[in-house]
Amino acid sequence: MTVLEFSTPRVAPFLLGLLRDPIIWLILLIFAVGTLTSEYYFTALNIENLMRSIAVIGLLSLGMTVVLLTGRIDLSVAALMIFSVIVGVVVMTEIGPMLGSRWLVRGNTYAGPIVPVILIALATGIAVGALNGIGVAYFKVASFIMTLVSLTALRGFNYVLTNGHPYYLKAPFYSWIGDSKMVGIPISFVIFLLVLLALMGFIHGTMRGGRFYAIGGNEKAALYAGIKTQRYVVLAYAISGLCAAIAGIIFTARLKSVDAPLAAGYELTAIAIAVIGGSALAGGVGSPWRTLLGSVAFAAGLNLLAIWGVGTWYQNLAIGVVLIISVGLSQMSRKKTQA
């Protein structure tokens, strides 16, 4: 049959490659241990919890992966995910009175239309990401410094714009994003999968996407090959900003509020997941698909520890150990490939 003849050669190596991937076995091991040791692990409710966790950290990590591919880093993602939503709410509460409506009601509850808030948040994410990219690509600021400055500034802006008070976001559509399910799958996870597919399509399915690898692998060679590297660096940061904004929307939709200090330190989790997924901090190695696996392994492992009732100090210790092992394995496999 034509279809089989066409698809088998493509699917089989993929599956074989998958089975050779240690992270797949790690995920299967976590699930097996979880199922054997707790009656609550492999339940619909817990899997839902797991998918919701993956959605937020996975989105941040996807954006981080694209930036890491270019050999750079983005420390501003967690601050930006909150900032973008705050900007959305603040802009709309300023627009409200111009239209004769008061959209911030008693108790700091946002009562205006929510779709414009989402659109403004997405635009803010892209814009701030692009600004980071411009600073890094055109003004040659080290990515660590540029995004660290952004992180600090955005956290400050978050307090300035909210005056330290939370905004309650109780619109039905927002609650739908945070709480609803589609065929048993949380909407937030569906959104994450859509972003993942789009990124995989772009990075692996287009020539432009492939250039991120070229830049991360050898930027000078990419430049001499005629690739406008600066534009791609800006694009990578803009994608990271967009992913952060989407993460911010589903994160705050679950909490039904946005508050300046939320998600502190999540940028480190995003980096950890991308590294666990095999992204190299030096650039040129990694993929959205493997970041998905990293997100699943990370969230499933933490969830298992939580189900066992392990304290967060030990959870942090476990993250550290897994991260060291992942970086070590990644280095070893790199040396092997180079040899």
Binding site: S38, N49, N163, I307, W313
Partner: protein, 432 residues
Amino acid sequence: MLKLSRRHLLKTAATLTVLAAAPLAIARAAAEESVHSVINALIKKYSDEARAGMSNGDVSALFEKDGFRDYLDAYPVGDLAGGFVWKPGMGASFVGPYSKLQIKSPFTDYLPLTEGPVLDHSKKYRIGLVFHGFNHPWLISLADTAAWEAARHPNIELEVIDAEFDDNKMGQVIDTWIAKQYDGIVLWPNREAPMGPPVDRAIAAGIPVVSLDRRTSSEQISSEVLGNFYANGLQQGLYLKHAAPEGNIIFNRKDLGSTADSIRTGAFLEAIGNTPGYKVLANYHTNSQRTLAFKSTADAMQAFHDISVSFNTGGEEAMGALDAIREANRLNSAPGGKKIMILANDDAREVLKEIRSGNIEMVSPYTPLIGDIGIRAVVMHIGAKAGLNEAPPKLIMTPNLPMITKEKMNIEGIETLTPDEWPYAYGPEVAG
């Protein structure tokens, strides 16, 4: 002639003694109870006056800018559950299971549960306590009291998780306990807004939830064990008014939006809002961190030469402020060569030591030793769900506690206590 036997005489004497003692006991109880009601009456008085207007422009501007009215209006002030009357000296003594410190917990007789198995003796009850900060002296004491109460009942299994000041993590912990079908949840929320939805999800899953100290945005929550934030801020204001009718104030405050900051600072501003002599010099958010309070106070020392009052929303902040003032050698640099007045909350042992030494003027006790009330309340809710007992009230007020000063004082009817009269201090012992 009336004949009285010896036995009859003894019985009559005993009856008379009881009758004579009863009014005394009632009067004493009333006097002791009045600490709570006296402070509640003062809260009402100053709140009403502030609502009518504040003559102090500086104080009024800060009050308006940070929107304290919304928070203060929503914070409950009222009577204690079950007509409980708290008296100094009440409560149990034990070693904290986590801190390993000697604790005297004041409210162990409030909504009491008899030691031994609870509810259905054949059943194991799994209760989760999620809070932030095993490394924080106030918070570890809160966990200590909860663990102590749980340990008194062999059929309670308590899981304690530190969410490390990550609201989302706390929500995930609650979601995990929902998946594990826990019988009850007790939480110490850091901020109100993000913790409402997880609490609502637990309630929807049929799990009773009790919050301790701070509030959540949930309207469905089973019970809230509320501290006496209002009494704290009010007493700081009353002390200041009593000690100095004018002064330049710097503020070291907690997170904006936290109940502790909203109510304490709001109540302090209400108390001083109609005294024109106070000026707000600087306003910092040092988020319960001593190091940040030290830094902000040190900055203020550089910026202003005429600071007369350091208002601190918490004990950690007060200690940071004191350290900075001491390091700058400015303890007696208030106008007129007077000492800079340091107003504190939270009755940590080290704060009491500084009161004894005269370095901190007053502290409004805010005891962390209320975790046990949360455990008892959630057990009662679990029992009420099974029809075994009545549910406790939704709002469980804890008794207003009088301020602690170096010498005994009477400030607007509040009899202050000295550090030696306060056995409930928390935190590590300090030398001297």
